[in-house]
Point group: C2
Chain length 501, copies 2
């Protein structure tokens, strides 16, 4: 066979690849038929005036791609390829409509996420005051101390930390967490702890271990939107119980438990997301009594307990739990580094053991290196110092937000919470005849971004509402943002009043 | 009320806590009844001769625990606590039998894990040669280069990397992965990639997105044990198709597809776990054709493609996939750091988008810091250098293992694979009348640990077999270990022969 092509040695394309491409072109076009002999690498090299090893490399690639075949001591020949869809490099229309292959819950989740993204609107930039993000302010990250801890962990234990570990997580971090929990009167040891990929993964593990399709969980409404995502994904039925000013409506809860027993009750007693409500001691005791009486697992989604700015301290429900019905979820994402993705579940060992096998099936084990760096960070006192600093910073921010709401918001029709801690405030709008997208457009037009209330409800929500997070805003931004919101709301209610006249 | 207790100032227990404990004891024992007035903090401080702030602190804790209540300007009184199970500090028998609350699949998984742990036996120590671990040798970890990359990532982008990110993963790492895949002829871009918490999490995401209880997946048998864990956990039915010497039996596969269409076929074409088999070009093309003809998703669980030591290169099935039916799973755990927990899925964007919402519901987002450090590690050429080094090291180890098997193993009844790459070899024992635990005990008695074959089968496995992994053993350990195994097997077959006489 004579050589039917030439190559360009000045091209950026490597010569071996040019040779490959030419031969593939000849085969795909039918110019070279199966069985045709190709020149020896020596002969090809001479004719093209290139190094023989270059030709050899091209041939090797063609063998591996199934274009050529050779037997020892014989010439290479064009191989009869098993019919596959088409030639390399040319894409053909996808055979599979992937969305159609996804499960119903996955498709629903996807549709929800598209709808929510459209509702919340694009990321804020420029002059926009963004009350949406619920993650600590990176301007306040203790990066230097953490980098030192990371370096210590890598230098001293890198070989172990970069191997697989226990699905329960890094032992010393479990001990650190148990110690911190005991400071808040929760009677747990390291054996009661499993480290998770943030609190989100903690909810996921629980749901996977305890609930199957058709099972029932009780949630507060409104509640944390991403928790509902997990329940939906697993096909769990949600029974919403309304929040009132002091937390989940416990009378309504008991009525709903009388009808059917859920596999768990999910509650956020501190600085509730989205409403900002912190339940009091009586509410906590009563809720615990209800769960004990009926032996129903109570999932307490905790916020950093020390981030309470105002009023008496309240203790976690887990601290009163002598019968092991409370499953406590904790996380370092809310006041330290969300990106580390480190949270935990604290519960009876019998449950932790089962969460561990689910975790092993899901990810084998977590990232020990990050867990070890964090354990050092806590042990060396950096975390406590950081939380005290955050307490000072966010106490002022929250006070600023509450004062600004008093100053700027029309009091007659608008209600809002006065949170004792955390980052979120909840605003309710009564007697306003407009839909949520309209409200959000009006707010966005004033360069403010808020979290629409509807995403926190399971099913329909009756009243217009939105969530404000002060997590990433300093005091002057909070003051400015709430001022703008006040003006928007003022105008909307003015219009309404003039329309009514 | 007079003071009914004293405190010990020399005790290690802080004074405020002693005061708390005394009052709690009095309340719990009924000595102090609800409504009883407790002394003012001033009066209590005087009587106990302690600082008033100490008493105040004790009172504050008691308020927060619900033991006391106070109204502004009034004395504190013992509060009527809502009845909860019992007093703090005293544990009572758990109310909930957690195992009984877990789903059937979770309980089964737990029982399996207990059974398997018993079968595999305790961790090796001392003189034991351990052929069980399937994770790269930490003695060969490139720790210094990685620490530099981690420091660069933290110093330059710490503030961003420690925030939440996209559930798709860190953009630059997705680009690095796509570039590496293109070097292996896979036509993908960063948009086709989602980063996962190791390959295990990649399988989990796929199963969660594409399969529900009762759906069917086709697996090779034997196959990767942890993949079966995930299928079981989700309640997916597994249809096993036998492996023969060249890979999954494709005739059997077609017969089984004729009966019912699965949601996916799961295959490990390179250095198959556990058998070590690498399928050839024809097998790959044929398998792809079968999947294209029937529009069935083919999940290709890849091993580092470059870790092939012997024979011609073979290309990933994904490189021939022009119709988007192949879902490629990759990971950095097999040749770099398992502990980083970084893997990926490469597939059509329509699927990646849906995996992203499942990932967001599961963990919000992954750990961007580790992903950024790894992206730098790859970009700076460390990963390529490391893979070349691993290739040299493990090629020698695998050759040593294959040679040692030839030398030491009784050839008449024992079969084994001669892998072209990776870490695992598969040993089959014919005509041996003993059970697996007995075999493992005989092996353990010679200070060797192997992975029992049965854990890789779905349902019953007919023949005795075990997996050898050379991942954590140097050449002399491999030689010694296989020598010992040869002697065990020699004796077992000798006994058998003498028994037959």
């Amino acid at each position: 066979m004579g050589i039917l092509f030439s190559i360009d040695k000045r091209s950026k394309e490597p010569v071996f690849r040019q040779i490959m491409d030419r031969i593939i072109g000849l085969v795909d076009s039918g110019a070279l038929l199966p069985g045709a002999r190709v020149p020896s690498s020596r002969s090809m090299a001479e004719q093209l005036d290139v190094n023989r090893s270059t030709v050899y490399r091209a041939y090797q690639e063609l063998w591996s791609m199934g274009y050529l075949e050779s037997r020892p001591g014989s010439y290479s020949r064009v191989r009869q390829r098993v019919r596959v869809a088409s030639a390399p490099g040319k894409r053909r229309p996808p055979l599979i409509h992937w969305q159609g292959r996804c499960t119903g819950p996955t498709r629903d989740l996807y549709a929800d996420s598209v709808r929510q993204a459209a509702l919340v609107g694009p990321l804020a930039g420029g002059d926009v005051i963004d009350f949406v993000p619920l993650a600590p302010d990176s301007r306040c990250f203790p990066l230097d101390a953490f980098r030192k801890c990371m370096n210590q962990a890598l230098s001293r234990d890198g070989e172990t930390l970069l191997q697989y570990g226990s699905p329960l997580g890094y032992g010393p971090l479990r001990t650190v967490i148990a110690e911190r929990m005991r400071l808040h009167s929760m009677n747990v040891s390291a054996d009661n702890i499993i480290i998770t990929t943030g609190a989100q993964n903690a909810i996921q593990l629980l749901v996977q271990a305890l609930a199957g399709p058709g099972d029932r969980v009780v949630i507060e409404t409104p509640t944390y939107a991403r928790a509902m995502d997990i329940f939906r994904l697993v096909g769990v039925e949600m029974t919403p119980v309304a929040m009132n000013a002091s937390g989940m409506d416990l009378t309504a809860l008991e009525r709903c438990l009388d009808r059917a027993a859920p596999v768990m009750i999910y509650t956020i007693p501190n600085f509730h997301n989205p409403t900002g409500i912190t339940t009091d001691q009586v509410h906590r005791e009563t809720l615990l009594r209800i769960c004990e009486d009926r032996a129903i697992p109570l999932v307490e989604d905790g916020f950093e307990e020390e981030l309470k700015y105002f009023g008496k301290p309240v203790l976690p429900i887990k601290s009163m739990d002598r019968r092991g019905v409370v499953v406590y979820l904790g996380t370092f994402s809310k006041v330290l580094f969300p990106g580390l993705r480190i949270g935990w579940v604290a519960a009876e060992e019998g449950l932790i053991d089962h969460l561990a096998v689910v975790q092993r099936a899901s990810i084998i084990s977590g990232n020990l290196l990050d867990q070890a760096a964090l354990a050092r960070f806590c042990r060396q006192g950096h975390y406590d110092r950081h939380v005290r600093r955050f307490h000072r910073i966010y106490r002022r921010r929250m006070q600023t937000a509450i004062d600004a709401l008093e100053t700027h918001f029309p009091r007659q029709h608008v209600t809002w919470t006065r949170p004792a801690g955390g980052y979120t405030l909840w605003v309710g709008l009564r007697h306003l005849q407009m839909d949520e997208p309209g409200l959000l457009r009006a707010i966005a037009a004033h360069n403010v971004r808020v979290m629409p209330g509807s995403v926190h409800f399971h099913g329909d929500c009756r009243a217009l509402s939105f969530r404000l997070s002060i997590a990433q805003l300093d005091e002057s931004q909070i003051e400015t943002g709430i001022g703008r919101l006040g003006r928007v709301l003022g105008r909307l209610y003015e219009k309404r009043t003039s329309a009514h006249r």
